[in-house]
């Protein structure tokens, strides 16, 4: 019996895991094949434009996940802003597996990657900024302050992921999430 068709989602998850940890150049077709359970040629059936299209799909997948989870939590008017912030940060914790996962933006923004994915990364980061600006405004900060805070959040998340990995200490990421919450709620 021939193996059953591998689900799209499982494929994307496998690709994501590899690109995320290896970066664009570091992700080899062999590893991508092993992680997805599809042979190289099968991957090319699903992604005729090859590696680049695979990474593209990963970027879209993460973008969707962030929209459906992080941003949704932050903007869900069923809850008051404080709760939304907490929920959003909790989703971010999940996104980066408590600091164990690298950010896809980072993984795909080294030289060879940045030219290919510049646009998506730029767009993605701007969406983070505008969403966090909104939660800032909802928490009664002036627009300009909210904008600065949003930038600060983005920088601290990215920075703490790097330092977390560099020092091999997960608590750094966790502390950063707590600090972000305090920054918003102390005023």
């Amino acid at each position: 019996m021939r193996p059953q068709k591998v689900l799209d989602k499982e494929i994307i998850i496998g690709l994501t895991q590899v690109f995320r940890s290896r970066g664009y150049e570091g992700a080899s077709l062999q590893e991508l094949s092993e992680a997805t359970g599809l042979k190289k040629a099968s991957l090319y059936h699903r992604f005729p434009n090859g590696k680049q299209q695979m990474a593209d799909a990963v970027l879209n997948y993460i973008n969707e996940w962030v929209n459906d989870n992080v941003f949704q939590a932050l903007l869900n008017n069923d809850f008051e802003p404080k709760i939304r912030l907490k929920n959003g940060l909790s989703q971010i914790r999940t996104l980066y597996d408590g600091g164990n996962n690298t950010c896809v933006f980072r993984a795909l923004s080294m030289q060879a990657g940045i030219e290919l994915f510049e646009e998506q990364i730029n767009k993605g980061m701007n969406e983070w900024l505008s969403t966090f600006k909104k939660i800032g405004v909802a928490l009664n900060f002036k627009p300009q302050e909210a904008e600065q805070k949003a930038m600060q959040v983005l920088i601290e998340i990215q920075g703490s992921l790097i330092v977390t990995k560099g020092l091999g200490d997960i608590t750094i990421f966790e502390n950063t999430l707590k600090n972000i919450e305090h920054h918003y709620l102390k005023a």
Copy 2:
């Protein structure tokens, strides 16, 4: 005539530039050869253990540069703490070319790199932390506060470099340097 010896420093500078912008996997021997002016085989004459040894040398070179410039400026007792801080941040600006350069730690800490250079990156980051703790103490912060501030500095520098690159906006890095200065001097 025997070709003149290519200066060690010139080689390291070329290697640094490539590893920094391309990452470990992305840095090809061809590119490293072009950047240094040495043919591949000659690079192997200087670095018998190949690519890994080259990246290792880059890490050491940057570490030395940071010690001789950034840390030296921060710890130079000929100046008062405020001035030292300003000078240190100015050296950091130079190190990252105002936000145009990637951090070598980041470039060499993707999966394939992190296993090889884990130790050096860990050690390097801890040196940043302890040095910035010292300037914090010199500015009359309690040891614990100074420690937290040092971590914050490291995170913000790393994060702002990522976001600067992702958004293609140099002012983000510059603003972060200003913010760091304010964080230290406002209390």
